[in-house]
């Protein structure tokens, strides 16, 4: 009987290869992976934001911050299950569509996938639910311990991010062996740590960590915008107006670091293998980065427009003035830093002298007697800032050639010889730094305006809510675009230079095709998050209004 069973088992045919309907296998994996990353980014980023808010509320004895933190965690708890759901779906789709590679990767990181990551996930679940459900009971003298629980939640969340980034980064930059040793041979005997601590692991960790904070801030802004729109009383509108401001401030604050984190990640990828750089910047992905330039420019424009609208509702803002030398610094920043970074490209330190001068000299000159009267009003300063945002965006987005690949470049599609500097890194860095610098200047002015004037919460221009929604939507779309780029830098490999992808879908999709799917993913994510916000917060808000 046993022999018969053995013979029968040996004759069971293998299931046919999976071919995902409509999307194909590669796009199916893309969609579930990106959705999982978006939900994951939220449940990691939102608690950072929430714990900081809770601590501020405790320190300043301001219940608004505590309410803000609790509402954000409420939404987080609902979306936690979506993260797990999309994670499970991701795994099944991956195993079904790319079974050989999936098994290979799981085996190489078995301890991570089968032990460490699940344990961390369980730990985070326990801490998150404890943190949320003990909110009302751990008040007063126990508040400090509740905040400590929140800090622990964030530590576990960060460790979880770092752990899962290991295999992810490995697929882009598998461990580089010592000189003279074949990568294939090295991988066979490499330890788990060798594989985890690869070239792009830490840069990816930093970029995602900062990106998650940005994301959390902008989603808090989204929550505030929805709730503001649905508010029936002035008190509710006042609270959600304030919440939108706080969310935007955190989001933009973290956003300022993001270009440099992204630059670091790209630098490490190029350092690992020089041929990745032209692929990203001059070949198949060059227009993807052009689109990224447009998105970053729009996000900075929108976040500064929100400051403008916020300023307009402060009584006494007309009296706020800023040193005219700061305005001059903003006007001259792209040109001066472009030259400085051309003469002394990073990591050469001499460019920091120029940078320090641009940052410090205007403030110093503004205090000199005789020069003190050279000032501009807050509104004029912001308008100058907006002019420079447009100029910086134009520099940021100027490509060397309006072609999908350098090989197709002709004279009528390329920059003229004398202007090629506009397409090089010093100009791009100068443009990025201008965007960051004037956003900081605008926030300094805003703080000055709040201290000297009277802010009227709840009376902000209604258009500001659309700005908050725009910021969240655009941030999500940009994350989708960058996730696509990171995956595509593997080219036709599952693991770059190590495990080739022999399937017919191993090519770079067009930017247009990618844009459709990124938009679809963004909308799906938006629908789920919107549903979560309305289901968790709207009933609570209505109850509060009724009382």
């Amino acid at each position: 009987m046993v022999c018969g069973a053995a013979v029968a088992y040996a004759q069971v045919p293998d299931a046919p290869a999976v071919d995902f309907p409509y999307t194909g296998n590669r796009t199916a994996v893309w969609v579930v992976a990106q959705l999982h990353i978006l939900f994951g980014a939220f449940i990691l980023g939102a608690p950072i934001f929430a714990v900081v808010a809770e601590w501020l509320g405790h320190k300043n004895n301001d219940p608004k911050y505590d309410r803000l933190a609790k509402e954000v965690i409420k939404v987080t708890v609902i979306l936690y299950s979506m993260t797990a759901l999309t994670g499970g779906l991701f795994l099944f789709v991956l195993l079904g569509t790319y079974p050989d590679f999936s098994t290979w990767l799981i085996k190489h990181f078995f301890l991570v996938f089968a032990v460490i990551y699940p344990l961390l996930f369980i730990l985070e679940t326990v801490i998150l639910y404890t943190y949320f459900y003990s909110w009302d009971s751990m008040k007063g003298s126990l508040k400090g311990r509740h905040i400590a629980l929140g800090v622990l939640l964030n530590i576990v969340g960060t460790v979880t991010l770092f752990v899962i980034d290991g295999p992810t980064a490995f697929m882009n930059t598998p461990a580089k062996a010592a000189e003279g040793v074949s990568l294939v041979e090295f991988i066979q005997t490499a330890t788990l740590w060798d594989k985890m601590s690869n070239f792009s692991w830490m840069p990816l960790n930093l970029h995602r960590l900062v990106g998650n904070v940005t994301f959390g801030g902008f989603i808090a802004g989204l929550i505030a915008a929805y709730m503001y729109m649905g508010s029936k009383t002035d008190e509710e509108r006042s609270y959600y107006d304030w919440m939108g401001f706080v969310g935007n401030m955190i989001g933009v604050g973290a956003l300022l670091l993001l270009p440099f984190m992204g630059y670091l990640l790209a630098y490490e990828l190029c350092d690992y293998d020089a041929s990745i750089c032209p692929y990203m910047m001059a070949d198949q992905l060059s227009m993807f980065f052009e689109m990224q330039g447009a998105m970053v420019g729009l996000i900075f424009l929108a976040s500064n427009y929100y400051i403008w609208l916020s300023l307009k509702r402060i009584e006494g803002v007309e009296q706020i003035r800023m040193s005219g030398f700061v305005a001059l610094a903003v006007l001259l920043m792209p040109a001066i830093m472009g030259v400085a970074w051309k003469m002394f490209p990073p990591p050469e330190w001499q460019s920091l002298i120029f940078l320090a001068a641009m940052v410090l000299v205007p403030g110093i000159l503004g205090r000199v007697p005789g020069l003190r009267n050279f000032t501009v009003s807050a509104f004029t300063m912001i308008k100058i800032g907006f002019l420079m945002i447009v100029v910086a965006d134009a520099i940021w987005m100027t490509p060397h050639g309006f072609v999908a690949t350098q090989g197709l470049a002709t004279h009528d599609l390329e920059l003229p010889e004398w202007a090629t500097e506009l397409a090089l890194m010093p100009a791009k860095n100068a443009a990025a730094f201008t965007l960051v610098f004037l956003t900081i200047v605008n926030y300094i002015m805003y703080n000055r305006a709040i201290k000297r004037g009277t802010i009227i919460w709840g009376k902000i221009d209604f258009a500001s809510q659309f700005v908050l929604i725009f910021l969240a939507f655009s941030a999500i779309w940009t994350m989708g675009l960058m996730g696509t780029v990171r995956s595509l830098t593997r080219k036709y490999y599952h693991v770059y230079n190590l495990v080739p992808d022999f399937t017919p879908e191993a090519f770079t999709p067009t930017l247009a095709y990618s844009a459709w799917w990124i938009t679809g993913i963004t909308i799906v994510f938006y629908v789920v998050v919107s549903f979560a916000i309305l289901v968790t917060l709207k009933p609570a808000s209505s109850k509060a209004e009724a009382h």
Partner: protein, 268 residues
């Protein structure tokens, strides 16, 4: 009254935007920017005008209930359309070009992989099956003295078989050496030296050594790139011996003395 004032403001700023746009376009034309860049600069001038219009726009009236929901939905549709349209009007890379290249790059690896071997066995089995069917048909329709026709077998594809230099040039394209090395006046970004005269400066054995172990040779004047290890050391894993031989054979034919290929320095 407020609306009239805003309308005037819009007209004024749009006019200023157009004037600035025209000035910028004329300036770009005079300084030899191609038309596509002139269009980009004009769009930026109009974007500037739009920004300044928004800055002075009157406050938006609060929307509630169904109006707010409808406005939100329209906003999402507009944003989605904007991003898809923006991405679509940019130049698109043709995946067909890349797909052909990938097939050539991975062909040998696939053939030698488990999957490749299995696919080859299946293909051979199918071919044998067809051959058997053909013979059976011919036999059944045979009269006395007829002969079974030979069926030609395909010799397999690939570029110019037997022409190793052409295969080597193909490898130059497939491995994307042009990304770092200029040759025949195109490619390269000063990451690596120009290669037009390398055949006069290095023997085939030395060329092979450099490809497999980049740190063994340094180009004069490329100290920074050498220190940073810019030349990838992946080719001994990625390329088969036949592919390297072909590439070396191609490089050995590059003997243009009019191009300043830097002197190679042997490193320890």
């Amino acid at each position: 009254m407020a609306n009239q004032s805003f309308t005037k403001s819009v007209l004024k700023k749009t006019t200023i935007g157009i004037i600035i746009g025209v000035i910028v376009v004329v300036g770009a034309q005079q300084t030899h920017f191609p038309p596509v860049f002139q269009v980009m600069f004009f769009i930026y001038a109009m974007l500037g005008a739009l920004v300044f219009i928004l800055l002075d726009a009157p406050a938006m009236k609060r929307l509630e209930g169904i109006k707010a929901v409808a406005a939100l939905l329209v906003f999402y549709v507009l944003l989605s359309g904007l991003y898809i349209a923006g991405a679509s009007i940019l130049p698109q890379y043709d995946p067909g070009v890349e797909a052909g290249k990938i097939e050539k790059v991975l062909k040998m690896r696939k053939a030698r992989s488990q999957q490749g071997k299995a696919e080859e066995l299946i293909a051979r089995a199918k071919a044998l099956n067809e051959r058997a069917k053909t013979i059976t048909q011919q036999l059944s329709s045979l009269g006395a003295g007829a002969q079974v026709e030979a069926v030609a077998t395909s010799s397999g594809g690939g570029a110019a078989s037997g022409d190793i230099v052409a295969l080597g040039k193909e490898q130059w394209e497939l491995q994307e050496c042009y990304n770092c090395h200029k040759l025949f006046g195109s490619g390269g970004k000063k990451r690596g030296p120009k290669m037009d005269n390398i055949g006069n400066l290095m023997t085939p054995e030395q060329l092979r050594e450099k490809i497999l172990f980049p740190k063994t040779w340094k180009a004069e004047g490329f100290d920074k790139q050498y220190k940073k290890g810019k030349m990838p050391d992946k080719y001994r894993d990625l390329m088969f011996d036949e592919e390297i031989d072909a590439l070396v054979a191609f490089l050995a034919t590059l003997r243009d003395t009019s191009v300043d290929t830097p002197k190679p320095i042997k490193m320890k």
